[in-house]
Amino acid sequence: MAFLSYLINGISLGAVYAIIALGYTMVYGIAKMLNFAHGDVIMIGSYVVFCVVSMLNLPVWLGILLSVLVCTALGVTIEAIAYRPLRQATSSLTVLITAIGVSYFLQNVALLIFGANTKAFTSVVPIDAVKIGESLTITGESIVTIIACIIIMIVLTLFVNKTKAGRAMLAVSEDKGAAQLMGINVNKTISLTFAIGSALAAIAGVLLCSAYPSLTPYTGSMPGIKAFVAAVFGGIGSIPGAFIGGIILGIIENLSKAYISSQLSDAIVFCVLIIVLVVKPTGLLGKKLQEKV
């Protein structure tokens, strides 16, 4: 019973990682860059919900909607201002450093506007904890997070495989130049990727802060790094990989906390990552790309 409870909490934690990891993996798959500011977009999204719901006392659905809109706009703006001018840069390091810069910029803007004090986030989930038997309690947040993650996965997979815009994304990720020759607007497709990734970040932020209700300008950074690990773990660039990577990461983290050591859980998570990368360098579901010379 206790094991089941740890497992469910782990899956719920992993579901949040998975949603964040989708943002990393989509952007990497299509723009071939690591958007390290992704974690901070989550934080901004959470602050939007906090302002709308807790400070202005407006309904929750409006808060989530506004948060998604703000994050989408933010993601597209960041891409247009910070990353697009660097697309032709010779070294991919340039974009990476810019992404880290954007990350610090967002953190400091939040620090300036909201201050450094921890804000207690009011959970947006109206469901009470479900008690099964004596010792198994599942919080409402866990249930909603897991369901939301599954829905997002299904919708995203359908979108990428069935719609024109989604297939354009696949094409750009395969070969940018060829896609352009086939009449696909690469810039627009990349913008769309950022928009979707950032909208998912807003949802991840709401779920993250509902389950672990404290909000500071640094709230997004550690989950962001863990989600990045999840994306690499599952094979960066692969959407189902991000999902599986996130869930496995959450489970490993929670079970090692419960049965090995609550202090060493992070170390264990990163050790597992190293082992996976040694055995399978492209991650669990990563594709092996032929290096063209």
Partner: protein, 385 residues
């Protein structure tokens, strides 16, 4: 046009000359004691740092209005360290450049330890208001206003045992923080002599401080009635929320790090109802000294002062007492001043907000009696024994 340009440059240079003169006029003579304070004014522990900054400021204004220390006024400067050891040392160096003679700081244990490595090399008198780790006073120039962690751990265990609050106790502590570790170790040791049992002791680290579901579940599985939280308020507020959301119904007990939990923005105060904490300062105490301080603090900063503000307020009066006892003057070198004050620290007894007749042992640790508080109706209330 050219004439106008000339005119402007003449005016500008005149303004510059005047302002330089004005700068000279402001230059401090040897007639003031320069006290510096360091703490996190931004970041995770900003509530502590700002409280220290403000509490010290109130005491300094009072002393200056009353004529200063031995007739010398105090000059005050404070620097932010963002709860970062390296930045705390930078802040120390910035204050040294400013001419600091006595240091009130750092506010937190880790930073205080980092700074004391520097201050002991300079032999500067260092009094940390709230850095409670034992290592904060490892150097001979450093003293504490607050209890040190071992004492807090022992006092907590004795309080829980003596008042029979629970027979099965769980602990959740931050293993990456010297403050939390220090209290936990002594608490666990003292618990062996007490009529309760520690059924689970789970740690977390500063890198994974948002998910406490496992730690709480373990406490529940092992049948704990009370959870001891020797940690800071930001994580404690999360633990309270997650415990309530899972419907566990524990009683919580903490140390001075929990002071400030009611100040977390948008925190549901009803979750903290019944939380007990050991802390030396209660803003609702009825003595004249506390009430006057609380009133002044509220007028100046619009909030009720916490223990850290009181610690810093006391720190300034302790410095005053030591300087007066040593009959020191501001023209003494930093090192001579420190030597003179050190001798007196072992002799003086100060009545402060955080304790009556505080005295210091040879290590620089303070002796005073702790007070227990309980959160009732969204306020800290002193438990009368």
């Amino acid at each position: 046009m050219r004439k106008l340009g000339k005119l402007t440059s003449v005016v500008l240079s005149a303004v510059m000359a005047v302002s330089m003169l004005a700068g000279c006029g402001n230059q401090a003579k040897s007639g003031t004691f320069k006290i510096g304070a360091i703490g996190p004014f931004t970041g995770d522990a900003a509530i502590y740092g700002l409280a220290v900054k403000n509490g010290a400021d109130i005491a300094i204004k009072e002393i200056n209005e009353a004529g200063g220390i031995n007739g010398y006024k105090i000059e005050y400067n404070s620097q932010d360290d963002e709860l970062d050891n390296e930045k705390s040392v930078n802040a120390y160096n910035a204050l040294k450049d400013w001419g600091m003679q006595i240091l009130v700081g750092s506010t937190t244990s880790g930073c205080s330890i980092a700074v004391s490595a520097e201050s002991s090399a300079d032999n500067m008198f260092q009094l940390t208001p709230s850095g409670s780790a034992k290592d904060c006073i490892a150097t001979p120039n450093a003293f504490q206003v607050c209890f040190n962690d071992p004492n807090q751990g022992i006092a907590s265990a004795q309080y829980i045992g003596g008042n029979k609050l629970a027979s099965k106790v769980a602990v959740i502590y931050n293993s990456s923080d010297p403050y939390s570790n220090g209290i936990y170790e002594k608490f666990a040791k003292e618990a062996e002599n007490q009529p309760f049992e520690i059924v689970s002791a789970e740690a977390f680290t500063s890198d994974s401080k948002s998910d406490f579901s496992v730690q709480l579940q373990k406490a529940k599985e092992n049948g704990a009635e009370l959870v001891f939280l020797p940690i800071y308020y930001a994580e404690a507020s999360l633990i309270l929320t997650q415990s309530a959301s899972a419907g566990y119904g524990f009683k919580f007990f903490g140390c001075d790090g929990l002071d400030g939990i009611l100040g977390v923005d948008n925190f549901d105060k009803s979750l903290a109802e019944g939380v007990m904490l050991l802390t030396p300062f209660a803003a609702d105490a009825t003595d004249e000294k506390t009430q006057s301080f609380v009133k002044k603090y509220q007028e100046a900063y619009g909030e009720i002062p916490n223990q850290f503000a009181a610690d810093a307020y006391d720190a300034i009066y302790i410095i005053k007492a030591a300087i007066e006892a040593a009959n020191a003057t501001p023209d003494m070198s930093v090192s001579d001043l420190c030597e003179a004050m050190k001798v007196q620290m072992g002799k003086i007894s100060v009545d402060g907000l955080t304790g009556l007749s505080m005295t210091w042992d040879a290590d620089g640790a303070v002796n005073k009696a702790p007070k227990a508080m309980e959160i009732k109706n969204g306020e800290y209330a002193l438990i009368q024994n």
